[in-house]
Amino acid sequence: MIGWCDTVRKPICEDNGMTVKVKFFASLKEQMGCDGATVEIGEVATAADVWLQASGGKALPPNVLVAVNMEYTDQNQAVKSGDEVAFFPPVTGG
């Protein structure tokens, strides 16, 4: 295991207590340097916002898959406090 990143706080907001749990897998985990992070979100936020926050402003690679609460979705999906948001490369099981 690579380890957990520090909690990432939205720099311009006051602490509203709203966070999501972010997870990275496989090659993306290695690129990010951590298994995931706890990320603070605003009242209205999408998976893309969470990615930007967690990645420190990197662009979301085009082939990265997005899951919210273990269901596939896309980066425009709204997220709410307590959600689990995962980012990972194309799957290669079987």
Partner: protein
């Protein structure tokens, strides 16, 4: 119906015999005329390179959830009696089984089609990732070979 994701090695043919004897036969005695199965085994080569070993990563929770969705879809699409789906995770060596998909039905068309559907859906939707150990280091498998 059984779905399992495990780091422990499994013997596909023994698992099939045991599951049919202990679950399918008592549940559907005389009703299943067809069983279609697929077993994926680790090769010692991929994409032209020798492979020494492999690590299979997954997303605990989501992997099982997606596998359950896929199996439920198959039961909606075809007339099936039972299904068994085993997938290995963790460190593997060549010749070790990776995946087992099996379906039982009254007639062969349902079994054949559902088995292939399950395998293709698993490969495109279940969050597993393969990292290969080559002579020259490691590499992540970036995409699956074509299934159709």
């Amino acid at each position: 119906m059984k779905i399992a994701v495990d780091t422990a090695p499994f013997s596909p043919w023994e698992a099939l015999g045991e599951y049919e004897r202990e679950v399918v036969q008592p549940s559907f005695p005389g009703k299943y005329g067809a069983a279609a199965t697929f077993v994926g085994t680790m090769r010692d080569f991929n994409d032209g390179d020798a492979v020494q070993g492999m690590t299979l990563e997954h997303y605990p929770g989501m992997t099982e959830k997606q596998l359950e969705l896929i199996v439920a879809e198959a039961f909606e699409k075809w007339s099936l009696l039972d299904a068994l789906l085993l997938h290995r995770v963790g460190a593997l060596k060549p010749q070790e089984p990776i995946v087992l998909v099996a379906v039982w039905s009254a007639h062969r068309k349902d079994a054949f089609e559902a088995c292939r559907f399950l395998m293709e859906a698993l490969k495109s939707r279940a969050p597993f990732w393969k990292k290969e150990q080559l002579d020259t280091g490691h590499r992540w498998v970036e995409k699956n070979t074509e299934g159709y």
